[in-house]
């Protein structure tokens, strides 16, 4: 391993350099959560009344809810009164001043991942402005998007500049009371991203490039809302393949996608947060609610995710297929090594006629990890002619890991077609020996076998990220076999 977990932890222990947004006051709220805290967050962000009311309603609902226990994950109880729900930028007390001060092992990992030089510094927590001028790059993108009429900004900016869009769409896919973590997020969300693509517009660029430059403000309670209007299309990439500095243990994000008639949204995620050390200490808890609604006819929402990080992942990107002929897709690679626990999958809710969904899930377990696929395919009585295809494959590396598959199906329309295929395989001693006998090293052989296993999912990723995702996979599984 080029970056030992301890080194990452040491980095994590340092003060986080980046604030959530640039225009907040320099104070933080003390730990604890009550209506006063919710109101204070809203006030600090100069939010309109409707949003404050919305937050408070979510908070009151959250108080009546129980933390879910059905997921196949185990962790110590979280003390929600021990978290500070508003943090302003902190003083760069221990942050490195230049790349020379950054742990060389971390830099080696970046090099392995193929992260461009100018981004390595930002990821390692070096003061950005000193290294490269991100503002000018961002501005160029902003102009290009602006010309096409695409709105792409932070959630806070959207609340300020486009409150009517926020009011119309916020919480319409993931209602504030949807689940425990979504309710918490709705009450206290800090910031996130907002995208609106107007009717008939094909977003002129992958929103990934821009996002990577701004990724540092990823918060603990992130809120993302993407709307593709009639006939619009957009491809959005969330996350980053590099290990990010992050001192928040609990992450509870909400992502909502809305696709109107003939609209298409492609949402790709590469998640590589700190997974804890090889003994299962530390690491991020990632409890995310992601859902897209194909609200209009002939619309399409596609989720692609590569999950290699976090100590615990609890995540089910889902599609509500409301419009007739709408299409939902879910392509996933989830890797769990050491003591990581992943409980992930998807829900496809077929409401409209002739709706189609495809689920391809690839789970890879190594070390002492637990990897669970949990999926629901629900076909309502209205969904005549609905079709689903599900394929779940698990790959086990070594004798101490585990894979579980919980596919649920509810079919209430007799004209529907639902197919499910599942397989579990061990990374074959036979496959490994075959490669060794051809002169290929064990490390290269494992990479080759795992990449082959994930190929159908990588194919769905935007080009430049497919390569990085592949590299990431090999870094995550380094030393897992042989």
């Amino acid at each position: 391993m080029s970056s030992k977990p301890q080194d990452v932890e040491a980095l994590l222990a340092q003060k986080y350099r980046h604030g959530f947004i640039t225009d907040i006051e320099s104070d933080s709220l003390p730990p604890g959560l009550d209506e006063g805290v919710v109101a204070a967050i809203s006030r600090k962000k100069h939010e309109p009344q409707f949003l404050l009311d919305w937050r408070l309603k979510a908070f009151r609902h959250w108080q009546t809810m129980q933390e879910p226990t059905w997921a196949h994950v185990h962790y110590k109880p979280i003390d929600y009164q021990d978290i500070s729900y508003y943090s302003a930028p902190r003083a760069p007390a221990n942050a490195p001043k230049s790349l020379d001060e950054v742990d060389p092992k971390l830099l080696a990992t970046y090099a392995k991942l193929g992260i461009p030089l100018h981004e390595r510094a930002r990821l390692a927590g070096v003061a950005v402005d000193a290294v490269f001028d991100s503002v000018s790059v961002a501005t160029t993108f902003k102009e290009k998007l602006g010309k096409a009429g695409v709105i792409f900004c932070s959630f806070s900016d959207a609340v300020r500049d486009h409150p009517q869009l926020i009011e119309r769409y916020l919480g319409t896919v993931v209602p504030p009371g949807d689940n425990f973590f979504a309710a918490l997020n709705s009450a206290v969300f800090s910031d996130g991203s907002f995208v609106y693509v107007p009717p008939g517009v094909r977003c002129p660029m992958e929103l990934s490039t821009y996002f990577r430059i701004n990724a540092a403000k990823t918060g603990q309670f992130e809120r993302t809302l993407i709307i593709a209007a009639e006939g619009a299309s957009v491809s959005y990439l969330e996350g980053c393949t590099a290990p990010m500095r992050d001192e928040n243990q609990l992450h509870a994000a909400v992502v909502e996608l809305v696709a109107l008639d003939n609209a298409q949204i492609k949402y790709s995620t590469v998640q590589n947060w700190y997974p804890g050390d090889e003994n299962g200490l530390g690491g991020i808890y990632n409890f995310v609610t992601k859902r897209g609604e194909c609200r209009g006819r002939d619309s399409k929402i596609s989720w692609t995710q590569v999950e290699t990080g976090s100590a615990i992942t609890w995540k089910y990107p889902s599609c509500i297929l409301k419009g007739d002929n709408s299409i939902g897709e879910f392509y996933s690679v989830a890797v769990a090594n050491n003591y990581q626990q992943a409980d992930t999958g998807t829900k496809m809710i077929h409401i409209g006629r002739n709706t189609k969904s495809t689920i391809v899930s690839k789970g890879i377990s190594a070390g002492h990890a637990e990897n669970t696929y949990r999926g629901l395919v629900k076909i309502l009585p209205s969904a005549a002619g609905a079709r689903n295809f599900t394929q779940c494959d698990s790959l086990l590396m070594g004798p101490t890991c585990a894979a579980h598959t919980f596919p649920y199906m509810e079919v209430k329309n007799p004209t529907a077609t639902v197919e499910h295929e599942a397989s579990t395989s061990k990374i074959g001693e036979d496959q490994l020996f075959y490669c060794l006998q051809r002169g290929i090293s064990a490390e290269d052989a494992v990479n080759m076998i795992v990449s082959g296993f994930c190929k159908v999912v990588f194919k769905e990723l935007p080009m430049e990220f497919a390569v990085e995702a592949q590299n990431l996979l090999s870094v995550s599984l380094e030393g897992a076999v042989g």
């Binding site: 001693e429 496959q431 020996f433 490669c435």
Partner: protein, 218 residues
């Protein structure tokens, strides 16, 4: 020149002694055939020579070009020119057949201090060998042994052998499960590799293979 020298080799698998004092000398330029009934340890010998870890060597020695073969890990044995044609070639889904072979060739070249082949060079080489083995172009795009018939898998093994040009090829029942036409093609492949510097060890059940590949010693 003695290429392979096996002296009093004993080995066990899962606590069971399978090889009990095997002796064999293979000189460059020779073709040997090892015949015998099921369970007589032919495949075990092949696997032990190739360096499979779950086969425990309990006694004896093996030298390959004078070097202690048993001291080398499997991948280094392969890189120094030992090739095993598997009895049951394994499927590796999603991994391109040609990609694996190119990686194998380059690993060998790298170990020998030679430059890696580029994609164009390699494609030319493999097209030529595939033609010789009567294999269709579709082998270029398929996964390693993925969905191959028994006969296709064996042809693929011989194709790999022709590309890697080993000094010593051990073919473990490469002839079993082949119809007569496939047997001729596979035999032609093996015969084309015969040269004064190389040697082949055939492990087989059937006399019929030896009608096509005439061994020096059986």
């Amino acid at each position: 020149m003695i290429l392979l020298k096996i002296t009093d080799l004993s080995a066990r698998v899962a606590g069971k002694d399978i090889l009990k004092g095997v002796n064999l000398e293979v000189r460059a330029g020779e073709v040997h055939a090892i015949m015998g009934p099921n369970g007589s340890g032919k495949s075990t010998l092949a696997q032990v020579l190739a360096g499979r870890e779950d086969y425990e060597v309990t006694g004896g020695s093996v030298t390959f070009e004078g070097r202690d073969l048993l001291a080398l890990p499997a991948e280094e044995r392969a890189r120094t020119g030992l090739f095993l044609g598997f009895q049951y070639p394994v499927e590796i889904p999603g991994v391109n057949n040609v990609y694996l072979l190119k990686a194998a060739l380059n690993a060998k070249r790298k170990a020998a201090g030679e430059p890696e082949v580029d994609a164009y060079e390699f494609l030319t080489l493999i097209r030529q060998k595939m033609k010789f083995m009567h294999m269709s172009e579709s082998f270029l795009t398929r996964g390693v042994n993925e969905g191959f018939s028994g006969g296709e898998k064996k042809r693929n093994e011989v194709l790999q052998m022709l590309v890697l040009e080993p000094k010593l090829a051990i073919l473990d029942e490469t002839d079993s499960g082949l119809d007569i036409d496939a047997l001729k093609v596979v035999s032609a492949g093996v015969n084309s590799l015969r040269s004064p510097e190389r040697a082949v060890v055939l492990v087989t059940h059937y006399q019929r293979l030896l009608d096509y590949i005439v061994p020096d010693q059986a």
